[in-house]
């Protein structure tokens, strides 16, 4: 049984009409924001890009003085922040098509590449399509555990699961490489569901992209600092790791803290738009924080809003959040949010707990929210 959303009064039942109304209200919210997009949003994304490029150049420059520890640290910090901005508030969001409406060839979801080893086109498939369409549906959304981790009680336990926290730690440190391998579906190859021939083109793309990234960070820039080769190499390596730790943490807070609900294929067959919205809300979790925190997380701290409107510019999520929250409250739906410490703590707690065989840990119990389906009023979330 999945870990399910809890409400104080036991499971909440949403009627067909309620689900429809939620759908209508969210559609209306989307329409209001879409109609309002303009210069303000454009200025925002270009400000972020400017900051990112500036930090990148500053970081590379500071490393010429990398023999002085404060400069080395400042260089690492600038590069880390630059890579985080590039991957999150810029890359992730641009590749979602959030900025396609600007018709800016350089910020188009189809052509944008980001500063990480995973090729953009592969990520768009595994993330934009697979994950965002089938969010939290077991055996459909490969982001549930990424094929390595047990993050949901519905995933069967076996002795190998004892290593769950260790696997998670390794994935965190090497996160960009994990993201790169995501579309390969290695576990499906191992199980014989996918052949090596299927993944040949994927591998080609990966080695090309990763090759350039490695060349840039671990050969060219270190070499350009001459005698400081090793110092710069270490700095670039550190910046990449810092980015990995951060992106892993933010992303895991999006769907794995306690209180997040998962679904089965049967429950989600023939979904209406309203039901789809409800699933997105129940399957995502937010993180509270300052404005800077939201920018640094690519606004994935507003994971709920992002999952409802993955193609709307992320800078709009903060102002949409109160409305989404009010809508949840109106219908008694949970709105999963909390500070970073609480959410990430809950994620790691789960990773440890689910490492253990089910008979040792208390089951989380019943469905928090049951959605009455059109037609036969079947249940979702049980």
């Amino acid at each position: 049984m999945a870990i399910l959303t809890e409400t104080p009064e036991g499971p909440l039942v949403l009627s067909v009409e309620q689900v429809e109304e939620i759908g209508r209200e969210l559609d209306a919210l989307r329409a209001r924001v879409t109609a309002d997009l303009g210069d303000r949003d454009r200025e925002y994304i270009y400000r972020v890009i400017k900051a990112q490029r500036g930090l990148e150049i500053a970081g590379r420059g500071l490393l010429y003085l990398g023999f002085l520890p404060p400069f080395w640290l400042a260089g690492v910090a600038a590069l880390s922040v630059s890579k985080i901005l590039d991957n999150m508030e810029i890359g992730h969001n641009v590749m979602h098509g959030q900025w396609d409406w600007m018709r800016e060839p350089t910020l188009n979801s189809r052509v944008f590449e980001w500063d990480t080893v995973c090729p953009a086109d592969q990520w768009r498939h595994s993330h934009n399509y697979m994950h965002h369409t089938y969010t939290n549906i077991l055996d459909m959304d490969r982001d549930i555990g990424y094929g390595i981790l047990r993050v949901d009680e519905a995933q069967p336990w076996n002795p190998l699961r004892l290593g769950n926290p260790l696997y998670a730690f390794m994935l965190m440190v090497a996160f960009e490489w994990g993201v790169m391998g995501h579309d390969l579906e290695v576990e499906n190859i191992v199980r014989g569901k996918k052949s090596w021939a299927d993944v040949k083109t994927l591998l080609k793309g990966q080695s090309r992209k990763a090759g350039r990234q490695v060349l840039k960070d671990y050969v060219v820039f270190p070499a350009l600092t001459g005698p400081l080769f090793l110092s710069t190499l270490a700095a670039n390596f550190t910046a990449n790791i810092v980015r990995n730790l951060w992106t892993f943490s933010i992303i895991f807070c999006g769907h794995f803290p306690s209180g997040v609900q998962t679904f089965t294929k049967e429950e989600c067959a023939e979904e209406t738009q309203g039901e789809w919205y409800v699933r997105q809300m129940l399957g995502s979790a937010n993180i509270q924080g300052s404005k800077l925190f939201h920018v640094m997380s690519g606004n994935l701290s507003h994971q709920i809003e992002h999952h409802l409107f993955p193609d709307l510019p992320a800078n709009r999520y903060p102002e949409m959040a109160p409305e989404v929250r009010a809508l949840c409250e109106k219908h008694g739906l949970p709105y999963n949010t909390g500070g970073f410490a609480k959410q990430i703590g809950s994620v790691w707690g789960k990773l440890f707990k689910l490492a253990l065989p089910p008979f040792l840990v208390k089951n989380s119990g019943e469905a928090g929210v049951i959605v009455m389906r059109q037609g036969q009023a079947s249940e979702v979330g049980v």
Binding site: G38, W101, R103, S109, W114, D115, N128, H132, K209, D311
Partner: protein, 354 residues
């Protein structure tokens, strides 16, 4: 130089092209993408604005009659349009002059008419188009234009005048009334200075001038059968001129450029017309469904993912026509736009590159 640029992009700035850094310093500093700065803005004729553009160093000039594509940002959205430079070719200061008429539905032309100021930077594509004077000049030349179709032929006239061209030239222009004719005084001055140039204006709406016809042409340029004729204007004028030239079996001597009016706003409920999948050469009757469904019904297998407008897997280029976003109801009639075919339905005739 290009080799060095590539090397830098492949090793140092990857995955972003070098231009993405340079443009943050100054928009015209880019090496691959070309930009131009507006240096002068003049509003002379009613409803028109004349802009002088200083292109970045990549600009290699235009041939009289060709067009350029410029891109401007309006409400955060980049729009591109084609205009023919009106200046003579081979201008020594390498500037371009564009005369733009504000159309009632012309988003870009209206915007430039109202807002263009010196210092503004626009995107610029290299000059293109086969509607231009041949390198070895014809024996004599007839230039016919209507409305804002004047721009390419004006460039031709100015070029020939600059070159002290000896052959006969007829410049025949149709418009609503004299104050709408951009560069009218200059045109008259050219006619005064060059005895071989005849400039004629016709205003069929206000005077009792008739539209274009054989008699008119014969009266103004009895030698027209020996000339090369260049024509640009609204569809009515184009048809009238073509009829005369075809009747005279002078089709090969007539060169014309389609004068594209901004597509009129269409009724969204309109599920008529044809959907052309130009990539595969399939044409189907518009059923009003999403383009993805219509493509599949026509036997094509376009790429898709979510089928609900969130993943952008289904993006395809709409070459022409008007589409309606099924989610927002928004209409889009700009040519060459990327659209999500799972949530776009054609309104009237649409050409999609699938």
């Amino acid at each position: 130089m290009v080799g060095l640029l590539d090397l830098v992009q492949k090793t140092m700035t990857t995955p972003h092209p070098l231009d993405r850094y340079l443009e943050l310093v100054r928009p015209t500093l880019t090496r691959r993408s070309m930009r131009a700065e507006i240096t002068h803005v003049r509003r002379s004729a009613v409803g028109s604005v004349t802009l002088t553009l200083k292109p970045a160093r990549q600009w290699s000039g235009h041939v009289a009659g060709q067009y350029v594509q410029i891109g401007v940002v309006i409400d955060g959205v980049r729009h591109t349009r084609c205009y023919s430079p009106v200046n003579a070719e081979g201008r020594r200061d390498r500037h371009i002059e564009l005369t733009i008429k504000a159309h009632p539905h012309g988003l870009v032309s209206n915007h430039l008419h109202d807002n263009a100021i010196p210092g503004m930077v626009v995107d610029l594509e290299p000059a293109a188009g086969v509607f231009h004077l041949p390198a070895s000049r014809p024996e004599s030349v007839v230039l016919i234009s209507g409305g804002s179709g004047i721009t390419p032929v004006l460039s031709m006239l100015r070029t020939l005048a600059n070159e002290s061209y000896r052959g006969r030239i007829l410049f025949l222009h149709y418009n609503r009334s004299p104050e709408f004719v951009a560069h009218r005084e200059e045109l008259e001055a050219i006619a005064m200075q060059h005895s071989n140039v005849r400039v004629e204006f016709r205003y069929p709406e206000t005077q009792r001038d008739a539209g274009f016809g054989y008699d008119e042409l014969e009266a103004l340029a009895p030698w027209f059968a020996d000339a090369q004729t260049y024509l640009c204007g609204p569809p009515g004028l184009m048809a009238a001129v073509r009829t005369v030239y075809e009747a005279e079996q002078l089709g090969p001597r007539l060169h014309s450029e389609e004068f594209t009016l901004t597509t009129a706003v269409v009724d969204p409920a309109d599920a008529e017309g044809k959907v052309t999948f130009s990539g595969s050469g399939v044409v189907a009757e518009n059923t009003g469904e999403s383009l993805l469904e219509q493509a599949e019904a026509a036997g094509l297998t376009p790429e898709y993912g979510c089928r609900m407008g969130i993943c952008f897997s289904c993006t395809a280029v709409k070459r022409s026509g008007c589409t309606r976003n099924l989610r927002t109801g928004e209409l889009d009639s700009d040519p060459d736009q990327q659209i999500q075919i799972c949530i776009s339905a054609p309104v009237g005739d649409v050409d999609i590159a699938l």
